[in-house]
C-alpha cells in the first residue's frame, strides 16, 4: 500500500458527503477540512435568568419516583423543564455504549448517569465538563453533602484533579450468604475478620451433592469486572492494573475534608497504570476459583449471569455470592424475607480490601444549558431527592446519614451497616476502570471464561489477558 495521507474532517461533513454517495470523493481528500470537534462546544453558557426557560434532556426513566423528583425540581426551578430520555440497558457497559451512540448521532442529552466504569472514559474523551468551578462557587451549599459522603466515593468521581460528578449511590462488593444454609452446615454468622480458609470450610460444608450432581453450591459468581473473581485478587494483595493517584485535588480535600482522616493522602482521582494481570497473586486468586469449580463447590460461572445467580440464591441453591447493596432490593423483590439472607465483609486473605462502583450525574460538554444542568445535579444529590430516588434499596445511598435501620427494615439484610463500613476497610477503592474500560471488560470476560471452561490454566489465561491489556494500555496512552 502506498503512503497514507492524513487529513481531518468534521463529522457533519463526512456524514453529509458520504450520505450523498461521495465516499470516493471523500477518500480523495477533496472535502474541506475542519478542526471543529463534532458539535461538541466548549463555550460556556451564561447563567439562566428567571425569565429564561430551559429544557434539560436527562437520561432516566420517568417512573413514579422520578415524577415526584421532577415535580419537586420544577417547583424549585420553574425556569427549567425536565425532559427524560429512557435509555434501557442491562448493565453499565451497555448503557455507555448506548450513550456513546447517542453522542455519535448528535443526540447527546444534557445530563447523563455515569458510574465508575465510565467516569474516566467520558472525562478523557472530553465529553463531559468538570464541576470544579460550580463546586467552588457553591461550596457553602455543598458542605453538607461532602460532610455526609465518604471521601473515597468522591475520589472515584475525579479525573486528573477535577471532579466530574457528585456521587449519589454506590455498591461495594460484600459477601451475601444464606443464614439457613449456614445453620444447616453448623455455622453461624462469620466474624468481621473471617478468613479465606473459614470461607472455604463453610462453602465446602454447605455444598450438597446427589450422585455426581451438585444440588446446593457453597459459592457462586458471574464473569464480569465488578464483584466477579476480582475481589479475590484484591484480598490477595493484587490488582489488574497498576494503581496510583493522579496529582491535584487539594482544592476539594482542603475545602471539604480538612479534618477527615479518611481523606488523608487522596489526590486528583485514581490513576490506572500498566496492566499487572498475571501477577502471581492474581494467578493464585484465579486458581482458587478454579479449584472451587473443580471440587463442585462453585458452579461454572457464565457471562451475563447476574439474574440467574440472583434466582439461584433466592431459591436456596447457593450458600454465598459476591454482591452489593443493590441485592437487598433485588432479593426482597424476589420474595426473600429480611431474615433469609445477610451480608458480611469479604473474607480476609492477605488483606481485606475489596472494591466498589459508584454513580452520579454528569453534564455533557455539548449541553447548551450547563448552568441549569448543574442545578439539577445539585438537586439530585440533595438528601430529599436521594431519599425519593433511592427508595427500595435497589442500590446503596452515598450519604452516611441515609444508612439507617429503618431504611433496611422492610428489605433486610440484618447487618446493613456492612455496606458503608466496607468503604473504611483499608485500601478499598473504586474498581479498576481506565479510559479503555469497555475493551478491558471484554478481555477479562474472554480469559476468565477460557480458564473456567478448562481451555486454559489460570496462568495461561492471565498471561493472555496481560498481553491484550498491555496492547490496550499502550493504545490508550498514545
Amino acid at each position: 500500500m502506498g503512503e497514507i495521507t492524513t487529513q481531518t474532517y468534521s463529522r457533519r461533513e463526512v456524514l453529509k458527503n458520504a450520505g450523498l454517495g461521495l465516499a470516493a470523493t471523500v477518500s480523495a481528500g477533496t472535502l474541506a477540512a475542519s478542526s471543529a470537534p463534532l458539535g461538541v462546544s466548549a463555550r460556556g453558557v451564561p447563567a439562566l435568568s428567571r425569565r429564561q426557560k430551559a429544557t434539560l434532556r436527562v437520561v432516566g426513566q420517568l417512573d413514579a419516583n422520578t415524577k415526584k423528583l421532577t415535580a419537586m425540581f420544577e417547583h424549585l426551578h420553574p425556569e427549567i423543564t425536565l425532559d427524560y430520555i429512557n435509555v434501557q440497558a442491562p448493565d453499565w457497559d451497555s448503557l455507555f455504549t448506548k450513550l456513546l451512540t447517542m453522542v455519535a448521532a448528535g443526540q447527546a442529552p444534557d445530563v447523563i448517569t455515569v458510574a465508575t466504569e465510565g467516569v474516566q472514559q467520558f472525562a478523557a474523551h472530553n465529553l463531559v465538563v468538570p464541576l470544579d468551578d460550580y463546586v467552588k462557587r457553591d461550596k457553602a451549599e455543598l458542605a453538607e453533602f461532602f460532610a455526609d459522603v465518604h471521601p473515597t466515593l468522591v475520589e472515584a468521581m475525579m479525573y486528573k484533579g477535577s471532579l466530574y460528578e457528585l456521587p449519589t449511590d454506590f455498591n461495594a462488593v460484600d459477601m451475601y450468604y444464606n443464614p439457613t444454609l449456614f445453620a444447616q452446615a453448623g455455622f453461624g454468622r462469620p466474624s468481621d475478620t473471617w478468613t479465606k480458609d473459614d470461607f472455604y470450610k463453610i462453602a465446602k460444608a454447605i455444598t450438597k451433592k446427589k450422585g455426581s450432581l451438585t444440588t446446593t453450591f457453597g459459592y457462586g459468581w458471574v464473569v464480569r469486572l465488578w464483584g466477579s473473581w476480582t475481589p479475590w485478587i484484591h484480598v490477595n494483595g493484587g490488582d489488574l492494573l497498576e494503581f496510583g493517584r493522579a496529582p491535584g485535588g487539594s482544592w476539594l480535600w482542603d475545602t471539604f475534608y480538612k479534618n477527615d482522616p479518611q481523606a488523608k493522602g487522596r489526590g486528583g482521582g485514581l490513576h490506572w497504570g500498566p496492566p499487572t494481570a498475571n501477577l502471581p497473586s492474581n494467578v493464585e486468586a484465579l486458581q482458587f476459583m478454579l479449584d472451587l469449580i473443580n471440587e463442585g463447590i462453585s458452579p461454572v460461572p457464565t457471562v451475563n449471569g447476574g439474574n440467574a445467580l440472583q434466582g439461584f440464591f433466592a431459591s436456596k441453591q447457593l450458600g454465598m455470592t459476591p454482591a452489593g447493596g443493590f441485592w437487598a432490593g433485588g432479593l426482597h423483590a424476589a420474595g426473600l424475607k429480611a431474615n433469609q439472607f445477610d451480608v458480611q465483609f469479604w473474607p480476609k486473605w492477605k488483606t481485606q480490601r475489596t472494591h466498589f462502583g459508584t454513580a452520579g450525574k454528569m453534564i455533557m460538554r455539548s449541553s447548551q444549558n450547563k448552568d441549569a444542568a448543574w442545578e439539577y445535579c445539585k438537586f439530585y444529590a440533595s438528601k430529599p431527592a436521594m431519599t425519593i430516588e433511592l427508595d427500595g434499596n435497589g442500590t446503596t445511598p452515598t450519604r452516611r446519614s441515609m444508612m439507617t435501620a429503618a431504611r433496611y427494615a422492610p428489605t433486610g439484610p440484618s447487618h446493613w451497616q456492612v455496606f458503608y463500613a466496607t468503604l473504611d476497610r483499608a485500601g478499598t477503592r473504586a474498581m479498576p476502570a481506565p479510559t479503555y474500560y469497555n475493551a478491558m471488560s471484554n478481555v477479562l470476560d474472554k480469559y476468565t471464561t477460557l480458564a473456567c471452561g478448562g481451555t486454559a490454566t489460570a496462568k495461561q489465561a492471565l498471561d493472555g489477558m496481560q498481553q491484550e491489556l498491555e496492547s490496550l494500555y499502550i493504545s490508550s496512552i498514545k
Partner: protein, 319 residues
C-alpha cells in the same frame, strides 16, 4: 421492464407535458400507466435509498477513516482493512461465523422440512393448529428474551436441561462453559427460535407439489424414503434454495444469541463477525474499523449468495 410498460418516446405537442400525459390515445394511456407504476415504486425506492443504500455508502466511506466519534475523523485510506488482516481475533470471528452458518442453516433446513413433512400426516385440525402455533411462537418472541431464558436452561450446574439429562444418567454437559459446546448451544438456541419460519416456507412448498406427481410416484412403487428423496426433495428444491439463501444471509449476521448467551466466549469460541463490528464501533469507538469489517462482511454475503445462485443451476429443479 417489458415493452408494454416502456415509456413511449416524447413527441412535441402543443399542450406541453400535461397534455402529452393526458392525451386520450393508446399511447397516452400507456404513459399514464407507466407513470403510475413509477409512483407506486417511489416510496420503496426512496426507502431503499435513504435507509439501505445511504447507510451502506456512509459505512463504506467511514471504513477509510479513523474516527472515535468524539474527535474529527482522519482519512487513513485502507489502513482499517490492513488492520483486519493482521487481527487474529477478527479472522477468528469469520471462522466462527462460517461454522455457525454451516450448522445453523443445515439444521434449520432439516428441522423445518421434517416438521413440515410431519404436519402432512393425517391428524385432527385442532392438533395441526396447535402444532403450527407451537412451532411459530418462538419466531415472534424476542431473541434476547429467548437467549436469557436459554442461559438459565443451559446452565451446566443449575440448569433444567442437565437436570433431566442427569435423570437419564447422562453427565452434565458444559453447554455454555466449554469452548467446543458453546457454539452448539448457540446454534440450538437459534434453530429453536427460527425453525417456525423454515417450517412455514416448507409447508408452503409442499403445498405446491402437484398431487399427480406424487400419485405417479406411488404407482411406480416409490414410497417412504425413496419418494421423499427422489420426488419430494427435487420438487422442493426451489424452496430449499430460498431457505438456504435467506438462511445464510441471516446467519452470517448472527449477533443476539452469542451476545446474550456467551458474550462471544468462552474465550472467543462464539465471537462472531457482527460482534466484532459492534465491539469495535460502539464499545471501543473504532467506527472506521467497525465499518471496514462491515464492508468485508457485506462482500462475503454478496459472494456467498452469488455462489449459491451459481450452484443452484446444477441442483434446483423448477417445475
Amino acid at each position: 421492464m417489458n415493452q408494454q410498460h416502456a415509456l413511449p418516446a416524447r413527441r412535441p405537442t402543443r399542450g406541453g407535458a400535461l397534455a402529452w400525459l393526458t392525451e386520450e390515445t393508446t399511447a397516452g394511456m400507456a404513459r399514464r400507466k407507466t407513470l403510475l407504476a413509477y409512483l407506486f415504486l417511489l416510496p420503496t425506492v426512496l426507502g431503499i435509498l435513504v435507509f439501505t443504500a445511504g447507510p451502506v455508502l456512509v459505512s463504506l466511506g467511514l471504513s477509510l477513516f479513523s474516527w472515535d466519534v468524539i474527535s474529527p475523523p482522519t482519512f487513513i485510506g485502507l489502513n482499517n482493512y490492513q488492520q483486519f488482516l493482521s487481527d487474529p481475533e477478527g479472522l477468528k470471528s469469520f471462522v466462527n461465523t462460517f461454522i455457525y452458518v454451516a450448522l445453523d442453516v443445515a439444521l434449520q433446513i432439516a428441522v423445518g422440512l421434517s416438521l413440515a413433512l410431519a404436519m402432512q400426516q393425517k391428524m385432527p385440525r385442532w392438533l395441526r393448529y396447535a402444532f403450527r402455533s407451537a412451532f411459530f411462537l418462538p419466531l415472534v418472541t424476542s431473541g434476547a428474551a429467548v437467549s436469557i431464558v436459554m442461559s438459565f436452561l443451559f446452565n451446566k450446574d443449575l440448569g433444567a436441561i442437565n437436570y433431566y439429562l442427569g435423570l437419564l444418567h447422562i453427565p452434565p454437559v458444559p453447554w455454555l462453559s466449554s469452548a467446543s459446546w458453546a457454539m452448539v448451544t448457540v446454534v440450538l438456541t437459534s434453530v429453536w427460535q427460527q425453525m417456525g419460519f423454515t417450517f412455514l416456507v416448507f409447508t408452503g412448498g409442499l403445498g405446491t407439489i402437484s398431487p399427480e406427481v406424487l400419485d405417479a410416484a406411488d404407482v411406480d412403487g416409490a414410497r417412504g424414503w425413496r419418494r421423499l428423496w427422489y420426488v419430494t426433495v427435487p420438487m422442493l428444491s426451489p424452496t430449499i434454495l430460498f431457505v438456504a439463501v435467506t438462511g445464510v444471509i441471516g446467519a452470517l449476521q448472527v449477533f443476539t444469541e452469542p451476545y446474550v448467551l456467551t458474550n462471544g466466549g468462552p474465550g472467543d469460541a462464539t465471537h462472531t463477525v457482527v460482534m466484532t463490528i459492534y465491539q469495535a464501533a460502539f464499545q471501543n469507538l473504532q467506527i472506521g474499523y467497525g465499518s471496514a469489517v462491515a464492508a468485508l462482511l457485506f462482500a462475503v454475503i454478496m459472494a456467498v449468495t452469488a455462489v449459491q445462485f451459481g450452484l443452484s443451476k446444477t441442483w434446483v429443479f423448477y417445475q
